[in-house]
Every structure is written in C-alpha cells, then in structure tokens.
Symmetry: none
Subunit: 86 residues, 2 copies
DNA sequence: CATCATTTGTCCGTATGTATC
DNA sequence: TGATACATACGGACAAATGAT
C-alpha cells in the first residue's frame, strides 16, 4: 500500500502501521533488517523525519530494535531479555 | 572561494557549484581525481554528508564518476560510453 | 599471505529552520 | 498553538573496496 498525504491519519502513522503489519505477517522475520531509512524515504516519497517517527512508534511497540550505524531489525527473543551487555 | 553557511543557496549546492566550475575551467582534468571527501570536509569546514550531497549533484550532472575505494574522478569520454565491464 | 591506511558506501543520532494545517 | 512534514547540516558507527607494505 501507499501512503496518502491527505489522509486523516498522519503519514508517519500510516507508515508504522504498514511496517508493523509486515512484521506481524512474517514478511519481515525476527532478526532481519527492515528497509533502511533511505529506502523507505524513496519508496514512500516521504522525508527522513517522517520515516524516523514511524520507527520510533515501532520501537515503542517493541517490534523492532535499532542499532546505530547498522539498521533497524525485527525484534527477537534475545533482544527482549536484556540490553545484551556483550 | 569559501562556502557561506548563511547564504541563500544550500552549502552542498555552493560546493557542487565550486567543484563544477573547477571541472569546466580545466582545473580538474578528465580522468583525474577530485579531492577526497575528507579533504573537502577539512578545506571547506563542512560535514561529510554535505560533501556527499555535492558529489551526488555532480554525478547527476554527469561531471564525475565515483569508484568505491578509489575516489571520484572527472568524467572522460571513456566513462560515458559504457559501464566499463572490465 | 596478512595487515594497514585511505576512500567511498551505508546506516542511524541529533539539531535547526521553514512551512502548513 | 501544536502536530506534522520537508530540507538542510553536523556527528558517529560500521562496512566494503582498493592499494601499498
């Protein structure tokens, strides 16, 4: 689906809905990266801020974990127990 | 010339203007490398992102070609014909 | 062969300014 | 006024390619 700039729902929420559905459906598997910010910007025609807001929602929902310089990954059981001190 | 952070024109565009002029004037000859990202960052006091945005403009203008691990070079006639499969 | 420095590639983290609704 | 969205810019982390040693 595409994002509608004129919809009632904010674009970043439309995007987090979209990605969240992809995770729950298994399209994005645990431990695997979801598309990068740059990819999502291009695919959906939105600004980086908007993508990042969507990511923040997904993090708050516990669906993904983000690693600086690496990417954002679908959360696994390993991720939830602790901050993986190692 | 130097880059003015307060100018109307974005810094990355000022930089691409500068380098583009250098190429067209012959200061940078075809096939020769233009300064590395690190050099341009230091010389002009800008961030790497800004340098890279300027490079992207020059590539879009067909003025340069960039090679991973090598550098960015002023485009030659050889460059334009194909992707140099070799 | 391994190692290292250099350089570009790909990522996210953060901040500011502007504009719109 | 506040939420949303875009553009710009600086930082920082990590990866990959290259060339020299």
């Amino acid at each position: 689906m595409t994002i509608d700039p004129h919809a009632d729902r904010a674009m970043y929420r439309q995007l987090s809905d979209l990605l969240g559905a992809g995770i729950r459906s298994g399209k994005y598997q645990p431990g695997m990266p979801i598309p990068s910010e740059a990819m999502l910007m291009e695919r959906h025609g939105v600004a980086r801020n908007t993508v990042r807001l969507a990511m923040e929602v997904l993090r708050d929902q516990g669906l993904v974990v983000t690693r600086h310089g690496r990417g954002t990954f679908v959360r696994t059981d390993e991720d939830e127990s602790a901050q993986n001190i190692a």
